[in-house]
């Protein structure tokens, strides 16, 4: 039984008053999620009791730190069903995962005349690294269009995937339209023309079960801070033969096996891609976040968010002048982006803030998608493990209030 009130007790910040007498209603988890106490404690515990550098000391603390740093990797591998632990690379965030692949794989494998396919749904993190790569190599970026309901124009894939396509990189769940894309179908389509497939799971991993083997993707990236973990760490998953043949990304200590004045031999996976003293506390925190989400069960998390999102969709649909971006039903993740006629998203967010309700306003790092939708900005309410139906009622009431502030009929 999913007990949202008990879950709320796990998140200390949900007891915060953002202004005197105004409790927090946090509807911005898609930007960054809040942290359960177990995650905060796990990081404190590391700093208070066993902080030391990893992979080099022979002393007790270094051994403990190394054990916990690597234990977290094992938890993450299980969480996404990676065949081997070494396929889980610690990076700074999903953005760094894309940069790593663009730099290390892209520079070795993309040439003049090659094509990289993206979609119109993408976050800047899955656009800009490829723009830089394409510019440098004389390659071409193409974008699979969306339909007006925010779903991908799958039937047009054949036009966009050609023998020139070397990589298809796409989101599994849009941070604006909420669209959940058919990952396996898209991966298979990429493979059918000999291209690799990379998945942006930043908005998927926090909310739904992820199985990289079932997806058959070649690379997949996500961020810790959107899934109850700390900021500053993310994960890149890759197929082993690709990771092994890729040159290093960052270089320095820890990523080498041997260095002479003349050159170096890179370390084994996964450390080949982890130069310098790594994010130890963050890995420990992410491990605790994985434990927390696993204890709730990702199917249960998804089911809860579906119920909340359906409820919100219905409640918001009744507000005069509202335009909800993206699809209905099973193709939508736990967020709703919208506009209100006569009220700019910034003004909506400001008025809601005074009622303690935190939402995001702007283009959510997806300017091309907003241009495609003919919008300069949207307001976005996003939901998570602790979101209640009462909070949705508060959101709805506050939106009606915002309209009255602007004297909208």
């Amino acid at each position: 039984m999913y007990d949202v009130e008990r879950i709320r007790d796990d998140f200390p910040i949900l007891k915060t008053e953002v202004y005197p007498g105004v409790p927090l209603v946090y509807l911005d988890s898609a930007a960054s999620s809040q942290k359960p106490l177990t995650v905060i404690r796990a990081m404190d515990d590391y700093y208070e009791h066993y902080h030391a550098n990893v992979h080099r000391g022979v002393h007790r603390l270094s051994e403990l730190a190394t054990t916990e740093y690597e234990a977290a990797r094992e938890k993450i591998a299980r969480f996404v069903n990676a065949p081997e632990i070494e396929q889980i690379i610690y990076v700074g965030n999903a953005t760094e995962g894309f940069n790593l692949v663009a730099y290390a794989w892209g520079r070795a494998n993309i040439g003049s005349g090659d094509e990289i396919l993206l979609t119109e749904l993408e976050h800047h993190a899955n656009i800009v690294p490829w723009q830089i790569l394409a510019e440098e190599k004389g390659a071409t970026l193409r974008y699979l269009p969306i339909l007006d309901d925010g779903t991908l124009a799958i039937e047009r894939l054949g036009e966009f995937l050609t023998e020139r396509t070397k990589l298809f990189s796409f989101t599994a769940a849009s941070n604006v339209a909420g669209t959940i894309t058919p990952v396996r179908e898209l991966v298979d389509a990429a493979h059918s023309v000999g291209a690799l497939a990379m998945v942006d799971a930043a908005q998927l991993a926090p909310h739904m079960p992820v199985d990289v083997q079932a997806m058959d993707c070649d690379f997949l990236a996500f961020s810790s801070h959107k899934m109850c973990g700390p900021t500053g760490i993310g994960i890149l998953y890759g197929k082993r033969h690709l990771l092994e043949t890729m040159p290093p990304f960052m270089s320095g200590g820890d990523m080498i096996r041997r260095v002479t004045f003349d050159g170096f031999v890179p370390n084994d996976l996964p450390w080949k891609f982890e130069a310098g003293t790594p994010r130890i506390a963050e890995a420990v925190g992410l491990g605790a976040a994985i434990d927390y989400l696993s204890s709730l069960g990702m199917d249960a998390v998804h089911e809860h968010e579906r119920a909340v999102t359906d409820y919100a969709f219905e409640a918001l649909s009744d507000i005069p002048g509202i335009r909800i971006i993206g699809p209905l039903g099973s193709q939508r993740g736990g967020l709703i982006s919208f506009t209100l006629a006569g009220l700019h998203p910034h003004d909506i967010a400001e008025i809601l803030d005074k009622k303690g309700i935190a939402i995001r306003a702007g283009h959510h790092c997806a300017m091309p998608l907003h241009q495609r939708l003919g919008l300069s900005a949207t307001a976005r309410a996003s939901f998570y493990v602790h979101t209640t139906f009462e909070e949705i009622d508060q959101l709805t009431a506050a939106l009606h209030h915002a309209r009255s502030v602007f004297k909208l009929k």
Partner: protein
């Protein structure tokens, strides 16, 4: 708690902006957006033979604060000299807006002034208006 930054005048200006439009042969024109939130403003200015603002017009898209600010600013700089425009203090514009703003919203409020000064200093115009309906 009241959303008291939305005093009557701000909402009036948002709905009925002043000096909204464009000038055919401006002496300078400039446009910039606030990349964080997508507010965008273009300001056109025509000067008279004494280098005073003879005509000013603006157009744009964005939140009530950014758009009301452009109305207040363009109203305020009429007949001011180019040097006075260049020296226009941001505190003065915040005073005209007259409501308490958070750090994030100060950027919205000052976008119009940033655009105006960039134009006044002759910085090349970076682009064409992103149009929105």
């Amino acid at each position: 708690m009241d959303a008291n930054i939305y005093r009557e005048q701000i909402i009036d200006l948002y709905e009925n902006p002043l000096n909204y439009g464009e000038i055919e042969n401006p002496d300078f024109t400039y446009e910039e957006d606030n990349p964080l939130c997508g507010d965008v403003i273009r300001i056109d200015v025509r000067l008279d033979d004494q280098n005073r603002v003879a005509e000013v017009a603006w157009r744009g898209d964005g939140c009530a604060i950014s758009q009301a600010s452009a109305s207040l600013l363009t109203e305020e700089i009429k007949v001011k000299t180019l040097d006075e425009v260049k020296a226009f203090p941001s505190e003065k514009l915040l005073e005209l807006i007259g409501v308490p703003l958070s750090m994030a919203r100060v950027k919205c409020a000052l976008l119009s002034l940033k655009v105006l000064k960039a134009g006044a200093y002759g910085i090349p115009d970076p682009g064409t208006m992103r149009t929105h309906e």
